[in-house]
């Protein structure tokens, strides 16, 4: 298990959110989640310009065994998606917190960020899940 970067916030459903210097929110799934899903073979990305609601499905990742909805941690407009995942979905397996990011949201209500788990709380959550 790789270290969880301290600047990330998490949904209980294992998506991470990172506030970028420009104020946009970059979103991906945790290293723990990619490990649970195993080999990813397909990512269905949202469209740039579409609107997402916090806690609603925004993307889909498919591993060999199952399809999983990826929820947006915050509401807002999709301003960028990781097109590299079209050809290399396994990037999420290799670098979940870095090159394996999925989309970027321009948040409409930044207060939603306060409802997310911090790295310590998320770490505790997945430790208990492993029992």
């Amino acid at each position: 298990m790789s270290e969880i970067p301290g600047d990330l916030k998490f949904l209980k459903s294992h998506e991470w959110a990172r506030v970028e210097d420009n104020g946009l929110i970059r979103v991906g799934i945790s290293d723990h989640a990619q490990g649970q899903l195993c080999d990813l073979v397909y990512v269905e990305l949202p469209e740039v310009g579409s609107n997402v609601q916090a806690g609603n499905g925004a993307a889909v990742v498919e591993s060999v065994k199952a399809a999983s909805d990826i929820y947006s941690p915050v509401s807002g407009e999709i301003v960028e998606v990781n097109d590299n995942l079209n050809d290399k979905p396994e990037t999420i397996n290799e670098d979940a917190y870095g090159d394996g990011w999925i989309f970027v949201v321009k948040a409409s209500d930044r207060a939603e960020l306060d409802e997310l788990l911090d790295a310590d709380a998320y770490s505790e959550l997945i430790e208990n899940e492993d029992d």
Partner: protein
């Protein structure tokens, strides 16, 4: 209560991800399902399939009993050690289970049936066996390891006692024989499998299974989980009971017509129903589908055709093909454009013959 095979602790020590598989705690992979899939296509991998049920049948009328019980004809088994794949049907022609039957002696046959159907299979077999005076004996004293891949046989044979090697080397496809394994373990080695590759399925006494497993690892055979086994068998065009057929489906509708033997004068269970269906016309047929676009075909997705809707049975990303394939049951006679509903999006697919992969390579037209 989840059941465990004798290799459970060994899987965990190897770092396997364990899942519930029909009431059994089994490894789905040891890291990467895709790598495990490829190792079986290219070299040699092994699976713990000890959850499967071994049933021995003894009695003077065992062959007569199997003529009655099975939709395929045991009369095809003429040489001791030969095996046959068959469905076991109910009176309506529905599939109770699919199985392999081995001819081991004039009064001795062995069945290997699915794990998830164990209880109902045993009840059905025992009920039918009474009239034939056949003794039905489950063999929980065996563990079972499937060693599969182009190098599987060579790597396994190297572990056998010298006196057995030449004989097992010559063992034909779909035949089994006794042989002595590491440290004198009495094995039953069958040249069968569920991956589309050459290899063996080995019955080993429970108390010697861990040793055999470790010796196979030392011989260069990679532990593989049931996840890879599923994608391998799908590529190889092999049905999975419960997903591709069950008691509501006849072999005609499950791509299993080749396993039905309508040999003259043999009164097997379900025969009348199968013959009636054949005369009336079978309303549904099982086909292979290939998705050339991005995405993954999954069990339960709706298939749209010009004759009405069907559904995906087994569907998955196929690692050898690097795209998704599936079995689907669709209305007979459907032609032209076929589409699959993936989360509300209608995606065009190609209808193809299966297997999708043979001898480690994509089949023509896939």
């Amino acid at each position: 209560m989840t059941e465990k095979t004798v290799l459970n602790a060994t899987h965990r020590a190897l770092g396997a991800r364990m899942v519930d598989f029909g009431g059994w705690d089994m490894p789905i992979n040891y890291g990467s399902q895709i790598e495990e899939h490829h190792v079986v296509r290219r070299d040699a991998g092994m699976f713990d399939v000890s959850h499967m049920t071994v049933v021995d049948l003894h009695g003077a009328r065992t062959r007569d009993f199997l003529r009655h019980l099975l939709a395929n004809s045991v009369d095809k088994l003429k040489v001791q050690g030969k095996a046959l794949y068959s469905c076991m049907l109910n009176e309506q022609g529905g599939v109770i289970d699919d199985l392999i039957v081995y001819f081991l002696g004039d009064e001795f046959f062995r069945l290997v049936v699915n794990a998830a159907t164990r209880a109902k299979d045993l009840a059905w077999i025992e009920q039918q066996a009474k009239a034939f005076g056949v003794a039905v004996q489950e063999r929980p004293d065996f563990a079972m390891i499937a060693v599969q891949g182009p190098n599987a046989r060579a790597k396994t044979i190297g572990l056998l006692h010298e006196v057995d090697r030449a004989r097992i080397e010559k063992l034909g496809r779909f035949a089994g024989a006794a042989a002595q394994g590491p440290h004198g373990a009495p094995l039953f080695v069958a040249r069968t499998g569920y991956t589309g590759e050459d290899g063996f399925e080995i019955l080993v006494p429970v108390e010697q299974a861990v040793t055999l497993w470790n010796e196979l690892i030392a011989a260069g055979v990679a532990p593989c989980g049931l996840g890879a086994r599923d994608t391998l068998r799908l590529e190889a065009g092999m049905n999975l009971y419960g997903q591709d057929m069950d008691e509501s489906v006849s072999p005609w509708e499950a791509g299993l017509a080749w396993t039905i033997a309508l040999d003259e004068g043999r009164d097997f269970i379900g025969r009348k129903a199968l013959e009636a269906q054949k005369v009336a016309g079978v309303p549904r047929t099982m086909v292979g589908l290939v998705l050339d676009d991005k995405g993954v075909l999954r069990h339960g997705q709706k298939v749209l055709t010009d004759r009405g809707d069907g559904e995906i049975l087994s569907g998955s990303f196929a690692p050898t093909l690097n795209k998704a394939v599936a079995f689907a049951r669709i209305p007979s006679g459907a032609s032209g454009d076929v589409r699959v509903d993936i989360r509300g999006r209608e995606v065009p697919v190609r209808v193809v013959k299966f297997p999708f992969v043979r001898d480690g390579k994509p089949c023509e037209g896939i």
